[in-house]
């Protein structure tokens, strides 16, 4: 009797739990994230306020003033310019270098595998610590790189402490840390390409450059796009390397978005301006990540279709 009841009850019990179960499973993760979402909306509110930590009594809504003032603020345009320049240069160079290294390591061999494992190491180094390593190596007093620069005739090369070479230096550190990321993705891509087109091209004696531009590159495009957008999103938000290396300096040479927002918040205690800067950066990353997600979905569909 009881067994029969259980049998009958089971499907309905199963169905209810099946409807509720996914919510129960994902709820804790969601709650944790909602706690993090609240500050996001607070940022939006702050960005429409005149709010300085040093003058809490003067806090009031000024609506778009923080944003409007950006138009005539040379510091803002500097931030925008440096951020875009930094992101553009690092991603372009890392892409070219990463693709070149991936192609050098494409053939599976013990040596190539060993090298690709070694190249993982910069990527696993904390960017902030990597910046400190390079800071020690470029120290004008004893830095080995300063010494090497003096050997090739750059007697007083100032690396990150001169406004004319600071960007070059942080870009170099970024390249050191993140090129392996692109290399890994593209190497995985290269090794997963079908071999027939390449064999056919080799049989027909097609020139190498033609194979590269007409076969390899088009087939690798999805991987290149993914790697580029991943890096672009990270790079335009770079904070660790620049802050650890120069704290945005010398002067305001390297005040990219996040560094500028950090300095605005903690040094000039201008919460309103800081929040407005972050909202603008968020809008840029949102725009970029939307492109990325659309692309990524198409990629996923195609991967499913092929499988």
């Amino acid at each position: 009797m009881t067994a029969a009841t259980m049998q009958r009850n089971r499907p309905s019990g199963f169905r209810i739990s099946k409807r509720v179960l996914p919510y129960v499973l994902s709820l804790p993760a969601l709650l944790v994230c909602i706690g993090i979402l609240i500050p996001f909306f607070t940022s939006v509110v702050y960005s429409f306020q005149r709010y300085r930590l040093s003058q809490p009594w003067a806090r009031q809504f000024n609506w778009g003033d923080n944003y409007i003032s950006f138009f005539t603020d040379p510091k803002f345009w500097n931030t925008l310019q440096v951020s875009l320049l930094y992101a553009g240069i690092t991603v372009l160079l890392e892409l070219l270098l990463g693709l070149a290294i991936a192609m050098l390591l494409q053939k599976r061999s013990t040596l190539n595998n060993f090298i690709s494992i070694m190249l993982l190491m910069p990527l696993m180094t904390a960017p902030a610590l990597a910046a400190l390593m390079w800071k020690l190596m470029t120290n004008p007093g004893f830095g080995v790189l300063s010494y090497l620069a003096s050997l090739i005739g750059l007697q007083d090369f100032r690396w990150a402490s001169s406004p004319s070479t600071a960007l070059f230096t942080v870009v170099l550190v970024d390249i050191w840390v993140y090129t392996p990321f692109i290399m890994i993705l593209l190497l995985a891509g290269l090794r997963s390409l079908p071999t027939q087109p390449f064999e056919a091209a080799a049989l027909d004696g097609v020139p190498r450059s033609f194979v590269f531009f007409r076969i390899t590159l088009p087939m690798l495009t999805p991987y290149i796009l993914t790697a580029t957008l991943f890096r672009l999103l990270d790079s335009i938000q770079q904070f660790d390397i620049i802050y650890a290396m120069t704290q945005g300096g010398p002067g305001d040479t390297l005040t990219v978005f996040q560094v500028e927002a950090y300095l605005n918040f903690f040094q000039s205690t201008n919460v309103g301006r800081s929040a407005a800067l972050m909202i603008i950066l968020w809008a840029i990353t949102y725009f970029l990540s939307n492109i990325f997600i659309k692309n990524w979905l198409r990629l996923r569909e195609r991967a499913r279709g092929l499988a």
Binding site: I36, P39, L104, I115, I117, L129, F142, L185
Partner: protein, 285 residues
Amino acid sequence: MQHTSLLERILRGIALTLVVIFFMFPIVWIFMMSFQTNETILRIPPQLVFEPTLANYTALITGKLTTAAGTLDIAFMRNLWNSVFLSVTSVAVALLLGVPAAYAFARHKFRGSEDIAFTLLSFRFAPALLVLLPLTLYFQKLGLANTYIGLIWVYQLICLPLILWIVRGYFEDIPADIEYAYRIAGHSWFATFRKIALPLAGPGIAAAGLLAFIFAWNNFVFALVLASADKQPVTVGALAFITSSGIQYGQISAAIVLSITPTLALALYAQRYLVEGLSLGAVKG
């Protein structure tokens, strides 16, 4: 593959050597500096051969630095412990919260599941300070400022999306029929989850957990904004180190070596998992 000429092989060899030198040199150099006294470090031209000393490491471990001005107490071991504690706990919490959620997203297409999943993914791409700056003010009100609990919570911003996305992909690759057969045999969903789904997704969970650990360890900005000296991990601690006066360069190098060794060792030990996790997180769902 076309046959390769001798010239091409030589050029490839040179290119690869340059690549290896560029990427390995900083690590090797800092490692060497950490075994040198200030005198050998400051010598010009830089020395490749020197008498190694462990003085830098003993100074860090005992926490007593002898400088020109006298003895200086440093808490670098404290930073190291904070890094270990924060990373391990954050990953554990993220696994506990993230794996069931990943399972829900993979197995049950419920209403809004894609939207929620994308929202969670988008956290990975949001500027950290956008959330952190208001959070400092909230944390002060809530009494969470400079606490491990507050930090571990914020660390979920990095760990949770990563685990959710990588593990979800692995769950989706398990044929639903296997689980269904096990359930028909009369087992509860929990037993199915524990005995079938979890073991099959094991490699994915390991890869995601390792990556999350490394990202948590390497994080800098969260603790910089939310923690003061006694709760700071090595990434922030080492920066304070380099800017404070009287600390020798060899000791800074030793601190950097101690800080990067755990992640590098993990990378060497589990490189296959890491590569898989990285490429999966980027290319697949």
